[in-house]
Symmetry: C2
Subunit: 491 residues, 2 copies
Amino acid sequence: MTTTADQLFAELQTIVGPEHARRDGDLSAFEQDWRQLAKGKALAVVLPADTAQVAAVVQACAAARRSGLAVSIVPQGGNTGLVLGGTPDDSGLQVVLSLRRMQTIRAIDRQNLSMTVDAGCILQNLQEAAAAEGLLFPLSLAAEGSCVIGGNLATNAGGTQVVRYGNTRDLCLGLEVVTADGAIWCGLSGLRKNNTGYDLKHLMIGSEGTLGIITGATMKLYPQPVATCCAWLAVDSLDHAVELLALSQKHLASGLTGFEAMERDALALVEKHMPHLRMPVALAAGQAFILLEYSDDESQERARTRLEGLLEAAFEAELLTDGAVAQSMEQAQRMWDIREHITLAQAAEGLHLKHDVSVPSSQIPAFVRKAKAELAKVLPDARVINFGHLGDGNLHFNVQAPEGADARDFVDTQQRVAERAIYDCVNAFGGSFSAEHGVGRLKRHDLAQYKDPVALSMMRSIKQALDPLNLLNPHVLLPEVAATSPEVAHD
Amino acid sequence: MTTTADQLFAELQTIVGPEHARRDGDLSAFEQDWRQLAKGKALAVVLPADTAQVAAVVQACAAARRSGLAVSIVPQGGNTGLVLGGTPDDSGLQVVLSLRRMQTIRAIDRQNLSMTVDAGCILQNLQEAAAAEGLLFPLSLAAEGSCVIGGNLATNAGGTQVVRYGNTRDLCLGLEVVTADGAIWCGLSGLRKNNTGYDLKHLMIGSEGTLGIITGATMKLYPQPVATCCAWLAVDSLDHAVELLALSQKHLASGLTGFEAMERDALALVEKHMPHLRMPVALAAGQAFILLEYSDDESQERARTRLEGLLEAAFEAELLTDGAVAQSMEQAQRMWDIREHITLAQAAEGLHLKHDVSVPSSQIPAFVRKAKAELAKVLPDARVINFGHLGDGNLHFNVQAPEGADARDFVDTQQRVAERAIYDCVNAFGGSFSAEHGVGRLKRHDLAQYKDPVALSMMRSIKQALDPLNLLNPHVLLPEVAATSPEVAHD
């Protein structure tokens, strides 16, 4: 007999306690993404206290689905995603499984440079816990005050330190995961080497909650750098920016911990909307600007000397048109503030289209020229606001409506046009249409369009193998996976 | 109608050319592992010239298997593996698919710090190609003169630079793979960030040829260190060795590029069998010895100063009982020679049991004490020869027959006894029974015994999903995967 939604809800309340399984009142913090792109309606929002409760919730939902109820589960962390990967649709048949109550730092092993944590731990809390031990947890991104590590792992988050420490997957040693049939895989591990079979950890990371629910993780820690030094540099082309990147990698090696690029138009928006943020170098000085961060393991003095040595070489090679070195931590922070205000300045300027693309860094100048040219053909007056993590080949190639145009109308009508022009270029340059944000519900159609069909077919086979009921986040990532059983009306 | 072996062989000859598909003459270079643990008999040894030929070979074998011939494929690289993952069984029904003819370096992108290569490229050739561009390809291991990158990837090889650069998987940006149905997945990529779906690259890496055949790869390159400096250090316990590791990580950060540990008994064997190799420090000076390598991105002078600074701190902390710093590259090479001769010294001493285990580095002293105690209970006079990549928590915890005993008899009769004692300890300390060598045919039973059952079940599901015919390396890695079709007599 088919379980009803009411019966399932009652069961979920029994598992997590009545106050932690909700379906009434204002649930928009769970049902709507933070950018307010879409608001869904959940069958229930459940907040398990621990891994065993997560497993029990999954088991209950799987049983209900097997009985014929077209329920599915949307795992959710801090709900800070950008691609609608963590919020429910409006069917009223999705259970939002929030990890927010699971916030325990289970263990820190200083000697092994690792920490084991609950998936619901807020990223900033992990950074602080590491710092309290004199260690560094290097993952850092704009949402760090509210995003959680489980979400960072499920989406393989990037951020500003990738050029040195890699993406979230590179920082992970082991996982604890609840599988689609409600079993618990104890893959927590402090090991740096373990060649005993398929790397399920890496398969789960970046799978956006479609293959399992990450409930815990063992993450790498690093020695804290002794000193950090920043510079703000003007170049007259992206060609020079990319040459500067190579020179920086050669001179600073693993000391290069940040290499952000911003085209002039992006900074002009910041200057317009946040005039209190003073540019370290006048915008007239260059076409693009680099925020370069160097970290030294010896001393502040050496950090400064090394960074100045690089700048000397860069001036000699005629790569720079101007530059400023931060004279204090405070000045460095102000440089980062400008970088991080571009998004807000874009918002202040009006609705716009976001793109999160990557190409090999060697291809960046040619790609940007080509993408701008192609975009101009179809949207002649649209304004490209281009900035990003150049050190990783990752650009936020955003598009703002033409000056004076109706931004809402522009966004509503031109999104596909802009995407097609940009992503076709990305594809031609061997790039990715989603470098760090993931696919979610927003970019499923792009996956269908641009992903290698052999890869897509393997992904489908894996999804089918590990989640045959299509219970876990079925509307996310993979385009149109058919459920085997039961037939799900709203798919 | 069932394809016969003769028919398939003729077809393979057509695909790769008659001289590159062989079944007669001396094929022991392909049919036997280099340690001569086992010699099989192949249906054929085929050496495709390119990826298209690999795909055609797989298609032919898959069709034959579908027709009822119980053929399967064993992908082979340099045939330097240690766990029988790349040689055929004696059924005469396995096709050895050797990548040896595919040795092209397809492209080097200096700006992007990457190179794209055929899977059959010999590791040392890749190191040299990178060096010719002034760059570093850091993967380094004893077999580098004959192992090939496809095999390194299929087994996720480790080696001596893991403490700084990670395992082979950490050095890979993209793969080209022929799937089990003979499709070509073009996943070559120079991207540092790409969040568009499941990470098939990491799934293939370390899968030992059971999910696909790696035919090409894009690998990371690094700036070359400016200077490298080595020290040979004596400590009076592994506790101090592990404390020294933490101190080194703190002082030298990413400059720490090697941290090898050797217990005294291991070096005593080298001294006995290779008396011409002079120990940098007398064996009486400690219970264990550390070969520490530091790499600097500035100068030889600074490398020396930094290393000496660490040693001063270590002596002050009373971690060291003696030590020597290499005064030249030649002296440094001699230190590495001693480290690398332990395996040969063990061979000279006689047949022995090899174990390749890892535990979190913080657990190493307790693990070694416990494992020695447990081993002594069951094999009181067996001699532990313990050394390895301490910086990665990876020990080669080898066991030599008792002094004067019949080594062949000891190895033949005590292997399981030793393994059980050691691996039970490994397991109790959250470790791995195969840190860098993989599973192959040799350690399948250990996988059945020690792998988390939920993980094992997911692995089986994935194998079934990506290779439903069980065509690719069916006797390797996974314990007893049942073929769906056709029934295969020799499974």
